[in-house]
């Protein structure tokens, strides 16, 4: 104690004499002078790919966020504003004109032109390239011509080459302007452009038109605030350094080392030892001690993740909405977020994330409120099963809350309940697809861009890409479709909200929790901010000397 107080007293005058007055944005963890010549280190996992149209996980997306600058980014209200674009405009939400901002150059010196966007997007959409984020282009006219159907499904015959190599909806106007024609009006197209898949690729990335160089991924050339320093050192690190010709807000550090970790707890130990500067996600097992270990270097910020329990429709035990509502009412969300998550997550009583424009509290109504007596009555009246299984993937740190939920259901509904772990999520999905008894199963969703449609579409629409449980309601589908085709944001949100109200009636899933970014930093950095997509803001972060 003595020593610490002494240190504090000596540190204070030091900080004053070093002239902290110049730094208006202090008070964020580390104190001391910002050092623009220092590099910072940030934890990531080994990215699967570093080609923008093939990057769908957070680690790759974090690195690309340094190397590239998006057409639009999101403001405090999560509405899009232009960054690399001068303007993104449309009169009918069908034909969009994108004008590029002057001054952007790729790290090899090439000026960014509209062709670089068109080529990159066509590459991403062309099916034989097998890009993971290709579905982002499916709203663009002509996307279907770049796909091909395998004549015999999983059989030995190869799919024929697609009809076209370029999407008819992409048209170059001049070097700085191009138009995008969608197959049908889509209100959120501008919002969507903030996603990783919509970055441009330089001419140097291609060895021939439409053919990406194999080596590109090892050292991607972008137009963002940082450029690659050396190549991608697999399973070790990716280093980037400040790109001085970057035209807008310049980074405040000389470079960033993205250090690759296999386990979050290892990265956490390194942050405690000041060997690593930022850990963007603190693992559940470190959560309880993190606040004490890190003090004001432990932080939370909004994020879009949404955790829920799903009921497969093939299981007749849960076909009655009342059974599902009763189970929802028997879960004490507040106790679980408090005791299991130590307040790092928020109870969810709606079907979309609170970060979205159009979010409303407690849309699930009475079913979202903890009420054990009502729950038991309703459950028995609706004839719920005597045994409940909750399946989850054992590799995601879900055991604690699943077990806690089961214990609550046991106590409140008088049923038998077990949590059943599958090794990984893919195994769980395989079981669901084979219609094997899984009981309830857990799912999570993180948005790609801030729009209610990004939840309602994939999760609850009949053909939704993540609707593994088979929920289908034509009225709901119609409302979501009408919303995305609406002429104004206000009207779109109204339709989306009506659709959400249907979910509250049908209760196809039980909303459980909304996540937050829970992150920590070393004493050597300050101004560490995270965005909605679990990425560290690389132009804001500062190194402290």
């Amino acid at each position: 104690m003595q020593v610490r107080r002494l240190a504090a007293w000596t540190a204070l005058p030091l900080a004053v004499t070093l002239g902290l007055a110049a730094c208006g944005s202090g008070g964020n963890g580390g104190s001391g002078k910002s050092n623009p010549n220092a590099a910072v280190s940030i934890q990531i996992g080994e990215p699967q790919h570093l080609v923008p149209t093939n990057t769908t996980e957070t680690s790759g997306s974090q690195v690309l966020a340094g190397l590239f600058s998006p057409l639009v980014d999101y403001d405090a209200q999560n509405k899009p504003y232009e960054v690399a674009a001068q303007s993104v405009a449309s009169s009918d939400n069908k034909v969009w004109t994108i004008k590029l901002k002057d001054g952007f150059t790729f790290h090899n010196g090439q000026k960014v032109m509209s062709d670089d966007y068109i080529n990159a997007w066509n590459y991403g959409a062309y099916a034989p390239n097998g890009q993971g984020a290709s579905y982002f282009f499916e709203k663009i006219a002509g996307y279907d011509d770049l796909q091909s159907v395998d004549p015999d499904g999983d059989g030995p015959k190869a799919a024929p080459a697609p009809k076209a190599k370029t999407m008819s909806g992409l048209k170059k106007v001049d070097d700085q302007t191009f138009t995008v024609t969608l197959s049908q009006p889509y209100i959120d197209f501008k919002t969507m452009l903030g996603y990783t898949a919509f970055y441009p690729l330089p001419k140097a990335a291609f060895s021939a038109p439409g053919v990406l160089k194999d080596s590109y991924e090892q050292a991607p050339i972008g137009q963002g605030p940082f450029k690659m320093k050396g190549t991608w050192q697999h399973d070790a690190k990716i280093e980037v350094e400040r790109y001085d010709a970057y035209p807008t807000e310049k980074p405040k550090v000389q470079g960033v080392e993205f250090r690759i970790y296999q386990q979050l707890s290892a990265a956490y130990a390194d942050v405690l030892g000041d060997n690593l500067d930022v850990i963007p996600t603190i693992a559940t097992e470190n959560m309880s001690s993190a606040a004490a270990d890190l003090g004001d270097r432990y932080k939370t910020s909004p994020m879009s993740s949404f955790q829920f329990l799903a009921f497969p429709t093939f299981d007749k035990n849960f076909s009655s909405p009342d059974v599902r509502k009763a189970i929802s009412m028997a879960i004490d969300r507040d106790e679980i977020t408090k005791s299991v998550f130590k307040g790092s997550q928020q109870p969810a009583r709606s079907f979309v994330s609170p970060v979205l424009p159009g979010y409303r509290d407690n849309t699930a109504g009475a079913a979202g409120n903890f009420n054990p007596t009502e729950a038991k009555k309703l459950y028995q009246a609706a004839g719920g099963p005597a045994k409940i299984t909750i399946s989850y993937n054992g590799d995601g740190g879900h055991k604690d809350w699943v077990d806690a939920t089961c214990n609550q259901l046991k106590a409140n509904l008088g049923v038998d309940c077990v949590g059943s772990a599958e090794p990984k999520f893919a195994d769980l999905l395989t079981k669901v697809e084979k219609k094997q008894p899984v009981g309830l199963f857990r799912m999570g969703w993180v948005m790609d861009y801030p729009s209610m449609e990004d939840y309602l579409g994939p999760l609850y629409s009949t053909n939704g890409s993540s609707n593994y449980y088979g929920y289908s309601n034509p009225e709901f589908d119609k409302l979501v479709k009408e919303g995305s085709a609406a002429p104004t944001q206000e009207e779109a949100i109204k339709k989306y909200q009506q659709a959400e109200d249907i979910l509250a009636k049908d209760m196809p899933v039980i909303p459980l929790r909304f996540g937050q970014n829970v992150y920590g930093s070393s004493t050597k950095v300050k101004n560490v901010e995270m965005d909605l997509f679990q990425r560290v803001n690389l132009v804001k972060i500062e190194a402290v000397s």
């Binding site: 697999h234 399973d235 296999q262 290892a266 130990a269 405690l272």
Partner: protein, 312 residues
Amino acid sequence: MFRYILRRLLQMVLAFFGTTLIVYALMFAGQGDPIQALAGERPVTAAQRAYLTEKYHLDATGVGGFFYRYFDYVKNLVQGDLGESLTGRSIGQILQQAWPVTVKLALIALAVAILFGVTAGVIAGIRRASIFDNSTLLLTLLVLGIPTIVLAPLAQYFLGVKLQLFPPTAGSNPTFYALLLPGIVLGSLSLATALRLTRTSVAENLRADYVRTAKSKGLLRRRIISVHVLRNSLIPVITFLGVELGNLMSGAIITEGVFNIPGVGFNLFRAIKTEDGPLVVGIVSVLVVVYLVSNLVVDVLYAVLDPRIRYE
């Protein structure tokens, strides 16, 4: 002896291909949905599924499909091409990066086991039921009662973060010092077994007639133990350690994870999780060679330690 070794080397080739066949078959049997496994919780697009299925022949199923894929693999293997992982990385390169650090780690762990395990075992065996002997038993129990999943993070927190005696993690290109703590953690269970094994062996041999003979001949106690007893006690210990070298290389999944060492154990774990057949087979093939060679060395050592054992 030379012919014996030659014969063993020939057997090795057979065992090598036997292993690739078995492991390939296991991966094949365990295959669920590797493409979804790679994507994690995200949905996979039809285009991507078709692309990966085509590229890695994932659509070849059944017995025919298995042999088709296995012989395809072996054909490339013979040409020195280990194939590509599902993320498009060359497996040869992955192995090149993973093996050196794992070998270093395993050797440190083995050195720890030999240095402390065998030495303490000899002392415990000579002074049976002494305080020292009983405290080695206590140590064994501690190591057994605290599995690596607990020991590794504990050691990291107390020795790495709190006392800052060691770096908390080692990373991909670690110094010897950074590997020391992971090495000790990894070697602890081998240490305990080697210790108990040496102790029993030494205690047993101390009662042998040749020791009585040596004693009655008036040989020094030190010489009796270091030359006669030790030499005769080492056979089971060396056998154990020979096997353990391979175990330490493949079994470091937990330790490599906690100390962030991107070695063989970590890659094996990742490959099994993402159902990356070629990568698993690639790693295990090299691993089997390690076992084969170390067991050959051990077998040859038998003859050195005990002249009565002869190989024709």
